[in-house]
Structures are given as C-alpha cells and as structure tokens.
Amino acid sequence: MSGLIGKKIGMTSIFDEAGNHIAVTVVEVEPNVVTQIKTEENDGYQALQLSSFYRKEKNTSKALVGHFAKANTESKKYVVEFRDFMPDGVKLGDELRAEDVLAEGSTVDVVGTSKGKGFQGVVKRHGFSGVGGRTHGQHNRERAPGSIGMASDPARVFKGIKMGGRTGNERVKHKNSVVVKILPESNLVLIRGSVPGPIGRMVQIHNRAK
C-alpha cells in the first residue's frame, strides 16, 4: 500500500475541468524522505518508512537524530511506515514527492486523527436519539441514554454499554476520497471533500489497493 505523509492546510473550493464548483481540502505534502527500508529477510515483512516535515534537531531525541543521520537527512517531525510499498530502485535518503506516488483523479484513503470533542453525551457520541419529546410530563431527559440495563437480576451494568465520555481525537480513515489536483511546485495536493482532523495536523494519504 503506497502512501505519503501530509499536513492539512485547510478547505477551499475550485472549479474542475468540466466547470463544476467543488469543495476541496488542501494538503501539503513536502517531499517524504525514505528513512528505513524493511525487507523480508531482515524484518519478516516489506515496508518503507517515510519521514516528513522539518523539526529542529534540539527538539528531536538523540536516538531519532541518529536514525535520520543514517538516511543522511535533517530531523523530521513525523515518521510513518507504509507496508508493501517498494518503488523500483528505492534507497535510503530518497525523496518521494506527491506527483511520484499519487495521481490526479485517483481514489485514496485519508488517515488522520479527528478533532477532539471533549466529554460528550450519548447523543453526539453514539448517535442515540434521546428520550423523545418534551411533553407528557417529561422535563429533563431529552438527551439521556434511557435504560442502561435490567433490574435486580444481573444487579449490575454490563461492560461495553455505550455511555458518554471522551469523544474524537482518534484515528479515522476517510475512505474513497479523490485526488482532484496536484500542484508540484508548491507541494500541495487537493483532495475532494473533507479530511479528518484540525488544520495543521498530520494526515496520511494512502493509495487504495487495486
């Protein structure tokens, strides 16, 4: 599965070739550096480790600085492994650019960490519909979960019952997005529709397996 590391820049809209006005998310894909090549003999599986986005060396752990030095590159912020991704003749320290890996019009999956929503109730978190109307004497249960179990027989609440709690800030894969446009000179990729996470957060763009 080939892919790249990018950073969400924000949303805007453009006109495509047919003249349709479509919403796009702008993702910055700086050239990704190959920092490790995992092989069948050595690691038991094939993978390519990519790194992207500059980070000051003083903010990077010594172990990672050494790791980047092996690939002869400066310190990077994000390190991600892509399994079974082996372009021909790839070497340590190679730079992969958006136009090398992605194609305009191709379908991709975008993986990111969603926006954190804090502590949320069951209506937002699990899509419960609440307890119905406001009338018939009901006064304070509009967004309540309803019953969470039986009576004195189990005399406890089962594990895994959906309740309120921390929401968002989790890994999300947005499937079947379309790459609308690639701007190689400014390292930008335009993806149709939305992409998980807030502006400035790292996202991974995966080519869909054929």
Binding site: S13, V24, S186, L188
Partner: protein, 115 residues
Amino acid sequence: MNKLDLVEQTQVNTEVQQVNPGDTVNIHYRVREGEKERIQQYEGVVINVRGSGANKTFTVRKISNNVGVERIFPYYSPFIAKLEIKKRGKIRRAKLFYLRELRGKAARLKDKARP
C-alpha cells in the same frame, strides 16, 4: 504567502467582467441538458456580492410572471459564457435586500452618474 491563498488565487480569473451591487446584468449561462449544451439568458439586478476566490458569488434578482426570482451565480464560473452590464445603478449600500420588499416603480434604481 499563505498556502491556502496560493490555491484560491489560481481560481480567480482577472478577465471576468466586474459586477457590482446595483448593476442590471444579462447573463448568458451555459446549461447542460444530457449531451447537448445551450445558452440560457437571465437578466436582473445584482443585489449581493459575497465571498472570495472560487467561493465568490453574486445574486441576481428579477421579477418573472409577478414572482420574485433570485439566482446565485459563482463569480468566476466557467459556465458564464457572456455577461452584459446593461445599467449601473446608484446605490448607497452593499446589500440591496430592501428591494425584496419593493414592487414595480419603487423597486427601480437611479442610474449611476458616469465619472
């Protein structure tokens, strides 16, 4: 430069004719019907211009069969084949929503004095 602006900038066609609120415009809009394409004309007063980049739009109001009709066009839409400005009205505000309340003679705009 801000990277988002970089993308938005590419969508701005500087050759498009400027449209301002208060203008009476005739728009030749290309309409797709199945395979065929034809031109549809729409004439009215611009009552609103909003947004920026590809997201910039303007609203054109006209009275059709005694019913007020408003249509929103993307400012830089490639579907606008031709845009004629029939009149430039003299106005004192950017949004002419008050025209919705007015009918007939009261809903006219004075011509802008030419500079």
